[in-house]
Amino acid sequence: MSNLSESHPPSFWTRIWESNIGYSFRSNPVAVASLMIFIVIVLMAVFAPLIAPFDPYDPAQIDIMNSEYPPVWIDGSDPKFLFGTDDQGRDLWSTILYGTRLSLLIGLCAVALQAFLGITIGLLAGYIGGRLDSLLMRLADIQLSFSTLMVAIIFLAVTQAMFGSETFNQYAIYFLIVVIGVAEWPQYARTVRATVLAEKKKEYVDGARVLGFGPMRIMVRHILPNSLSPIFVISTVQVANAIISEASLSFLGLGMPPSQPSLGSLISSGFDYIFSGSWWITAIPGVVLVILVLVINLLGDWMRDVLNPRLHKG
């Protein structure tokens, strides 16, 4: 016993690495590859200003004469532009880096908003129950009966008409975050409510009540941490969905303006030139978007398998 306790306690990261989740991750090549690609994409997005050879937001660096150069591996290209240029003469590689940054930012912030709304509402509905539960869940049903895109299109079209194109373009990123965040909260609320209903019947909740803890503390500190695994799983799916929603809205011209393109608006702006032979303006950002969404979904799949209590109830 004494020699066992002599070894100093392992650090946080070692413990994760040696846990079941760590083992399952290491032995799953798809998850490892997905995470690595995801990290690379995130790093590229975060350090876009350092990596990108041009600043796509700076009109001084854009020359319309450079427009529609193909990628370097195709004849007639300019070696300055790795993936060629778009219709305005912007370096596509730099624009994709900045666009990925915007797409990820909007996706993560929208999901954070969804999670905040959904978890709050789900906790209240599940823990308090009764009329409040019925009311909130009917609201969720109503919200779910409108498709996210429809709500977003109506909302964004109306705001665009109200504020005018100029103001809208300036605040487009906030509008997108809010509209995607608000449209999808029921996903979280329902999942959290279901978990809370199961958790609140467990005896540790009675134990907490017996110790004189108030409902807020029990909800936030005791029930919520025990409900995290489904929240993690839907979060990954929701980030992927939010990125797609943003891309779709931008593609429809209701999202990020062409002067500050996200992946979706890049695809959209290139779409006009696809039949004139400049396929790369659409195709390359499209591939980046697909890879980004795919790796997030693959990670989500892996996480769902690992965190599913039915698969490893010990």
Partner: protein, 330 residues
């Protein structure tokens, strides 16, 4: 000096078209530092009594009438916030299964510190010091290390010790222990009970021990309540009830103990089952299972009356007692 005094406590369950009576006018007293046992079959209302005292009945149960006086203060009148200040602080409760009563995602230390700081203004490190002292009191080896462990890293007996330590953290006057050893290994049961007894005696803590184990009750408690179908049917000093039970139900319980049966013979169980709350028989609730029941047992519910040194709710208690003495004399 009375610590807890329960008067005519009635608890009902609101069902779709009627209210079912789960506790029917329960009255008892508990002196400071006294240890009281509550026994009865499943469904007698033992656990509901415990939860009612804490005012933690959840829907559809509710307290219909009566008083719960903790040092003269009626808990039923108290607001939720005032009640929360009492729970854990002046009254603590220990549950059956220590595997599930500790929060699985918080360390032992976090749970203890949180409990202390919810009731008292203490710094984190002071709270930790008190936790270590309490863990030592329940004989947890190397308590400093335990603070950083999660419940799943500990054995069942160890966890129940920690549950007891948490219950004792704020030096409550009363501990309600609801079958505290049922989920544990037999060898550990005795340890936990000894520990509980020792802590209650040394800290002068009142104990309400809810159990179906008559052996445990006779070791642990000074007084005993026997419950049947939501009523107290016999109350008195534990030793006297165990040695000379007056109510036919208590007699049945004691005769049903395996020790009361010769080897190779079937156990002497009480015929029939506890009635469900929706179909409590008229008159004495025990009458369908009672071999001595007469006509008036089926129509008039018996009042609880003093008989010798105990209180008992049975119409025929003096006749039965006389018959028993005759048998023994013959």
């Amino acid at each position: 000096m009375t610590l807890l005094s329960v008067r005519d406590l009635t608890v009902k369950f609101a069902m779709r078209d009627q209210n079912l009576t789960a506790l029917n006018k329960i009255s008892f007293d508990l002196a400071k530092g006294e240890r009281l046992g509550i026994v009865g079959e499943s469904g007698a209302g033992k656990s509901i009594t415990g939860f009612s005292l804490m005012k933690l009945l959840s829907h559809p149960g509710f307290i219909d009438s009566g008083q719960i006086l903790l040092e003269g203060e009626d808990l039923i009148e108290l607001s939720d916030a005032r009640m929360r200040a009492i729970r854990g602080n002046r009254m603590a409760m220990i549950f059956q299964d220590p595997m599930v009563t500790l929060n699985p995602v918080l360390t032992i230390g976090q749970q203890m510190v949180e409990t202390l700081r919810a009731h008292r203004k203490l710094s984190e490190s002071d709270a930790k010091q008190i936790s270590i002292v309490k863990l030592r009191e329940v004989y947890i080896p190397s308590p400093e290390e335990r603070l950083d462990q999660y419940p799943h890293e500990l054995s069942g007996g160890m966890r129940q010790r920690i549950v007891i330590a948490i219950a004792l953290l704020l030096d409550p006057q009363l501990i309600i222990a609801d079958e505290p050893t049922t989920a544990l290994d037999v060898t550990i049961q005795a340890d936990i009970m000894d520990l509980l007894l020792e802590l209650c005696q040394s800290n002068k803590v009142g104990l309400i021990l809810i159990t179906h184990d008559l052996g445990v009750v006779s070791q642990m408690t000074e007084r005993l309540l026997v419950m049947y179908a939501g009523k107290i049917i016999e109350a008195g000093r534990t030793r006297e009830i165990i040695n000379d039970p007056q109510h036919p139900y208590t007699q049945g319980l004691i005769n049903a103990l395996p020790q009361q049966t010769e080897p190779g013979r079937p156990l002497k169980q009480i015929p029939g089952n506890m009635p469900s709350l929706s179909a409590i028989p008229t008159g004495c609730p025990f009458n369908p299972r009672c071999e001595y029941a007469l006509d008036h047992c089926r129509t008039t519910p018996p009042e609880i009356v003093r008989y010798g040194n105990v209180e008992v709710a049975c119409h025929e208690v003096s006749r039965l007692n006389a018959e028993r003495s005759e048998e023994q004399g013959a």
